[in-house]
């Protein structure tokens, strides 16, 4: 029987239930949604002993306060700098057992923009097309297809065993910096940009705009102009970088659409998507061209590192 596990007390962030991607439906125009930073989510789930892709609460922003309405075991993954349980500082690299009415404050004041709250056991989100990931654009999945707000109750069947797992913070949290370089693979319309424009694209850095969200990260900086304005609608994937006529590139993220009509200058390497997701508003992004082979090698090595978090 599901019970109320936690209650949201306060947040200023975009808080949603996320999980593995909604795969197999992109061909019908359905976005994949899911964790923006899978690495962060996996760590939180690993610490509490859940499947790595189990639903967890994604906090896109700086702060979440919640109250335990039953005994439960929680952990935080992703970009977090401070965990307070009833005003007592808690270690970030391990799971914590909560008792009734414990109040937990999770904050991030340093670097990175997304953290994950994992709860041991099963917690309930609406499953739509095979995934409980919230799709805010279409209003389905997770918690009634919407953002979690003050007063919302999260239901589940918590398990109470505390794992003895922990990880070294340095190896996971220090990767979040204000300025990042991400690898990209040349896109199908890269030829629609002049050599000079491509040199600028790879030579300059771009700032993450405030109107970035789970659909797309918008960049500003040097204007990138293509030789053609629009193309006919083509397939786009998570990480596809489109260049609209404004010249400000848009990188499609978890809730991004499945087709787009702007030239696709490049696609972010899979291994760097999580790092990109963690850039803060105003942080700077630099692109480095790589071959598909290099990108796949990076992904392979990243998966090996992640697989260490399996038992």
């Amino acid at each position: 029987m599901p019970i109320s596990v936690i209650k949201i007390i306060k947040t200023t962030s975009l808080v949603t239930i996320q999980s593995k991607q909604r795969t197999g439906f992109r061909k019908f125009g359905v976005p994949s949604s899911g964790f923006q930073d899978e690495h962060g989510a996996y760590l939180g789930n690993w610490l509490v002993g859940n499947d790595r892709e189990a639903p967890s609460i994604e906090v896109f922003g700086n702060m979440l306060v919640f109250e335990a309405l039953s005994e439960c075991v929680i952990a935080i993954g992703g970009a977090c700098s401070r965990l307070l349980i009833n005003d007592q500082q808690g270690l970030l690299n391990q799971a914590h057992k909560l008792v009734l009415n414990d109040v937990v404050v999770v904050e991030n004041v340093t670097a990175g923009s997304i953290f994950y709250l994992s709860i041991a056991g099963i917690f309930f989100g609406e499953s739509v097309m095979g995934s409980v990931a919230t799709d805010l654009t279409n209003g389905w999945g997770g918690f009634q297809g919407r953002i979690l707000k003050k007063g919302d109750l999260i239901l589940g069947t918590p398990t109470l065993r505390v794992t003895n797992r922990n990880f070294t913070i340095a190896s996971t949290h220090s990767q979040f910096t204000k300025n990042i370089t991400i690898h990209i693979i040349a896109g199908p319309e890269a030829h629609l940009f002049s050599k000079q424009v491509l040199d600028e694209f790879y030579g300059e850095s771009f700032a993450l705009s405030a109107d970035s969200n789970r659909v797309g990260y918008r960049l500003s900086g040097t204007k990138i102009k293509s030789l053609a304005g629009d193309i006919s609608s083509k397939t786009v994937l998570r990480g596809t970088i489109q260049v609209p006529p404004s010249g400000d590139p848009i990188i499609l993220m978890a809730d991004g659409p499945t087709t787009g009509g702007y030239p696709r200058i490049g696609v972010v390497a899979d291994a760097d998507i999580g790092l990109l997701a963690q850039v803060r508003i105003g942080g700077r992004v630099r692109f480095r061209l790589c071959t598909p082979d290099q990108a796949r090698r990076n992904s392979f090595n990243q998966r090996i590192r992640l697989n260490l978090f399996e038992e």
Binding site: K27, F28, T235, T258, A269, S299
Partner: protein
């Protein structure tokens, strides 16, 4: 005759192959063919206007050359797709629903009745889905109705709006922002996230429009 195959990476796991044929159903057939051959290898296959994108599951090396050989070996016959029944979609051209009637008449130099007649008479096919869940891009729009997107997109296009842009006709499965020229409204249910599959139209399927009155439209929605 052997065609030169144009392909490009779309990220490290996907390959997009474009301009293989002018026949829209070629891509639907090719997609079915590749799905059968690569069922364990691929995450999915996506079709857009004159292109097909094959997305592989995690792989250290992509068999690009082998994929191209497969594509070259594909012999398109329209049988499977032609056997799908023609689906009839009701459209109401009530003035209240023809939100862009005036500027379409002017821009296309057609009177009101010819506009509707040309739109109704088309024999359409589902060329792709995209833009939003369940939005069908229907090829087969009469060239006389070819019109660019609106200069300023609408913030809110109503659910069921039937709209045209360039050489395509589309129907909005839900309320959404949008920039296509609205020519009518359909009560046909295109998408339901609780159905499996969530779309009622199939890729490649032939679509015929039938005209309904405002009262028939209301009755249709009331059912």
């Amino acid at each position: 005759m052997q065609k030169v195959i144009h392909w490009s990476y779309l990220g490290e796991r996907a390959i997009e192959i474009a301009s293989l044929s002018d026949e829209p159903n070629f891509y639907v057939g090719l997609s079915d063919f590749l799905k059968r051959k690569l069922i364990l290898e691929i995450e999915d296959i996506y079709i857009t206007d004159h292109s097909i994108t094959v997305q592989f599951k995690f792989a250290l090396s992509l068999p690009v050359d082998d994929l191209i050989v497969l594509v070259e070996g594909y012999d398109h016959q329209d049988d499977v797709i032609s056997n799908q029944p023609v689906i009839s979609i009701p459209i109401c051209y009530d003035s209240e629903f023809m939100m862009d009637a005036q500027h379409l008449q002017k821009q296309l130099n057609l009177d009101f009745d010819s506009l509707i007649e040309l739109h109704l008479a088309g024999s359409y096919r589902v060329a792709m889905f995209g833009f939003m869940p369940g939005f069908p891009y229907l090829s087969g729009l009469n060239d006389l109705l070819s019109v660019p997107r609106l200069a300023t997109p609408r913030k809110r296009v109503p659910k069921g709006a039937v709209a045209i842009s360039n050489n395509m006709c589309g129907i909005y499965p839900n309320t959404s922002p949008g920039g296509w020229n609205i020519i009518g409204r359909s009560p046909f249910k295109l998408f339901d996230e609780c159905d499996d599959p969530p779309v009622r139209l199939k890729l490649g399927q032939a679509v015929q429009f039938c005209r309904i009155s405002k009262s028939e439209y209301d009755a249709y929605l009331g059912d």
